[in-house]
Symmetry: C2
Subunit: 209 residues, 2 copies
C-alpha cells in the first residue's frame, strides 16, 4: 500500500493519525498542495478529485476519502478498534464522525478557504473553479464557535467523544480543533471539557510522536 | 424501534429507502419540518440537532445521522448487503456515499436553502441561526451541475455506483438527483448513463412502492 499525503494539510492528517493508532507502516508519497501538485495531470490519474489522502492498494485500487480509508484499515487490522465494537457503537462513531465533519471541519475550511490567498478560485476542494465568497469567512467562523460549544457540552459526559474508548471521531475532532488555529480560533478558557479532552488526546503517541 | 421522519424531506427519505430495501418494518413518527416541529422543546429532547431522521432503539438510544442509521441496520440485518461485502467494497461504498453528500446533496441543499423563503435564518440544518447568502444559490447550482457530469461519467463504467450491486451510495445519489428537481435541475439529455441509472433505480420497489 501507498498513501498519497501532504504533511501540512489537515485532511490527510486524519488518515496519518489513524494509521499510527493501528501501528501500521505505510509508504507515504508527498503531494505538495501549496505548489498545486494535486491539479497535475499525473496526480489526476490517481485521483481526478484532486484531493489527498488517497490510499493505493497493492492491486492498484485507490480509496480517495478519509472514511473509506478508515473503514478499509479497520477491516484489515481490527485491533485496536477505532470504529466501535458492536452495532450501536459503530453507528455512534460514524454518526459523530459525520457530525464533526459537517459542523466542525467544513466550517473551519469554509472560513479559511474563503479568505486565504492561495484559494481564490478553490474555495472548496476539487478540480472545479469555486470563487471565494467573503461572507463565508465569518459564517464559517461562527459555525466553528457553535461547534466548540456543542463539543464542550458533549465532552462533559464522557472521556472521549463516543464513550470511554478513543475512536475515529476523536481523530476527526482533534484535527478540526487544531485546524481552527488557522482561523485564529482557540478553545475558550470556559470550555473546560473540551480543553481537558484536547490536551489528553494531543499527548497520544499517534499525534505527538 | 421508531423512526422520526418527515415524508416530504430528502434526508429522511434516504433512511426510508434503506429500510425498505432491507424489508424492515419500523414505526414512523412524523415531524412536520414545514411547521418547524424540529425546533420544539419536545423534539430537542430527542435530537438537539433538530434534524430528522432519528432512529430510536428500544433501549432509548438515538441515532441521529443517516450514515449511523444505515450502519446499525446493516449490522442488524446483513441481507441484502447495501454497504459492501468485503473490505474494498465497504470502503468504496462509504467513500462514494461521502462524495455524493459533499459534491451533490450539500450542493443542492446549498442552492435550495439559500433561496427558499422558509429558510431565511436556517440556510444550514441545525438549531443555530444561519442567514441566507444569495451568492450561494448559484454556487450550489453550479456545483450540482458538476456533480451530474461526474456521476454520468462514472456510471458509464458500471451498472450501479459501486459496481454490479445496488448500495447505499445509489440511495444517496438517487435522493440527491431527485432533490435537484427542487432547484429545477434535471438530467441533461446528453447524460445518457445517468439517465439510464436513474430510471432503473426509480423502478425499485423501495422507491416506487
Amino acid at each position: 500500500m501507498k498513501l498519497y499525503d501532504c504533511t501540512t494539510a489537515p485532511s490527510p492528517r486524519r488518515t496519518r493519525i489513524f494509521i499510527a493508532e493501528k501501528g501500521l507502516d505505510i509508504e507515504s508519497i508527498q503531494v505538495d498542495l501549496r505548489k498545486g501538485e494535486q491539479f497535475s495531470d499525473e496526480f489526476k490519474k490517481i485521483n481526478p478529485r484532486c484531493t489527498v489522502p488517497v490510499l493505493e492498494l497493492d492491486d492498484g485500487t485507490t480509496i480517495t476519502e478519509n472514511i473509506g480509508i478508515a473503514c478499509y484499515l479497520e477491516e484489515l487490522q481490527p485491533r485496536p478498534a477505532l470504529m466501535g465494537q458492536n452495532p450501536a457503537e459503530k453507528a455512534d462513531v460514524l454518526s459523530w464522525n459525520s457530525r464533526i465533519e459537517f459542523e466542525g471541519l467544513f466550517a473551519v475550511a469554509e472560513s479559511f478557504r474563503n479568505h486565504a490567498k492561495g484559494f481564490k478560485e478553490h474555495a472548496l476542494t476539487g478540480p472545479n473553479k469555486i470563487t471565494q465568497i467573503p461572507e463565508l469567512v465569518m459564517r464559517g467562523r461562527e459555525r466553528t464557535q457553535y461547534f466548540f460549544v456543542e463539543l464542550d457540552k458533549h465532552l462533559g459526559g464522557s472521556e472521549y467523544i463516543c464513550g470511554e474508548q478513543f475512536t475515529l471521531a476523536d481523530i476527526t475532532a482533534f484535527v478540526t480543533v487544531d485546524f481552527a488555529g488557522w482561523i485564529k480560533l482557540q478553545i475558550d478558557a470556559s470550555q473546560v471539557n473540551l480543553k481537558r479532552w484536547f490536551e489528553q488526546v494531543s499527548h497520544r503517541a499517534s499525534i505527538s510522536g
